[in-house]
Subunit: 202 residues, 2 copies
């Protein structure tokens, strides 16, 4: 069975950096935005639109049930149907990626979708101030954002990720029981963290 | 400043094994039951009695406040006074241990008590079934305990630890935000986990 590593991450905590570094060290595939690109290709929807859909809170549209436990024969409106079909396409693509070769998958409920393949499930987090500082470093200089705006942006993305995860998995996003390893990236540089993960891998 | 590592742990998740192995690998002191022995020596109370007090839920006795935020001039009864003085003795002993040399401290709110020394804070956990299996391995053969009894014992100890931690720190026991590194010991043998910690240490 292929070696699969999934990374859940609070926005701005360095999950992408960790994933890229691990992929490089292990010489295996890395999938992040590629999942969105794959869905767009398969559904003929614009990539930006798919990105919007998967970043919105699905519970706004489905107040009656949760994605992992749908009642059959529900009358869904076209928007609800499209949202669900995008999720199902995402599941298919993630399973395809995991079947193809060893890989690292960031976000998108991959830990849950691939649970039968027993992935090594990482979650990274950090205090808000540290994540704000990390985000600031990446912002183009000309892009002026106040601390308040940046904070709101980060919290809003995390809120959506938590709701998305909850809706489709029935589990609590970031709850350590759903992961093999949770690390506070404020306490440890990504380089050291990658070495720690390598030491822990089965 | 001395290198301090604190380990919080769900009962039966292998926190003690990890601590002992790390202490051996790093060649530094390891404190677990020694904290209780120290309190007993300083307070002239029996070790077993101290153990009982620190394992009970303090909130039973202090329904009006929390240990980290006491109102002054409260009229405490002798039992409440003794419970608090045992905690204060514990704080003194833990600070003494941390000041003496590099060390590993297991449990007893050490992560909170030593927060100014910036310890590396680990929390280990595992699914209940795994912890039951680990406990069974340690039970003397003649000691017959049903699964139900063992489960109740584990859950009760964890409940007390959570309440004790909450009472004296105002924080949620096992909540990843209070730790640098949380590991599911069911996913990784203690030997590998120790190597991971060594890779992460500042």
């Amino acid at each position: 069975m292929n070696r699969i590593i999934t990374i859940g991450r609070e926005f701005g905590s360095g999950g992408r950096d960790l994933g890229l570094l691990l992929a490089e060290k292990l010489g295996i595939a890395y999938y992040d935005k590629e999942i969105i690109t794959g869905i767009a290709e398969k559904t003929s929807l614009a990539e930006q639109y798919v990105q919007q859909v998967v970043e919105r809170r699905p519970s706004h549209w489905f107040p009656f049930a949760t994605g992992h436990n749908f009642y059959p024969n529900l009358n869904l409106n076209p928007l609800q149907e499209q949202t669900l079909s995008i999720y199902h396409e995402q599941c298919r693509i993630i399973k395809e990626m995991a079947a193809k070769s060893d890989c690292i998958l960031v976000g998108r409920c991959a830990d849950y979708i691939l649970q039968e393949k027993k992935p090594f499930r990482i979650f990274v987090y950090a205090p808000l101030e540290e994540r704000m500082a990390r985000c600031r470093k990446r912002l183009p200089e000309q892009e002026k954002v106040s601390d308040r705006e940046l904070k709101q942006h980060i919290l809003s993305i995390d809120k959506n990720r938590a709701a998305y995860y909850r809706f489709y998995t029935g589990q609590v996003w970031g709850d350590k029981v759903n992961y093999d390893f949770c690390a506070n990236t404020a306490s440890c540089p990504v380089e050291k963290l990658a070495s720690a993960v390598l030491a822990m891998l089965p």
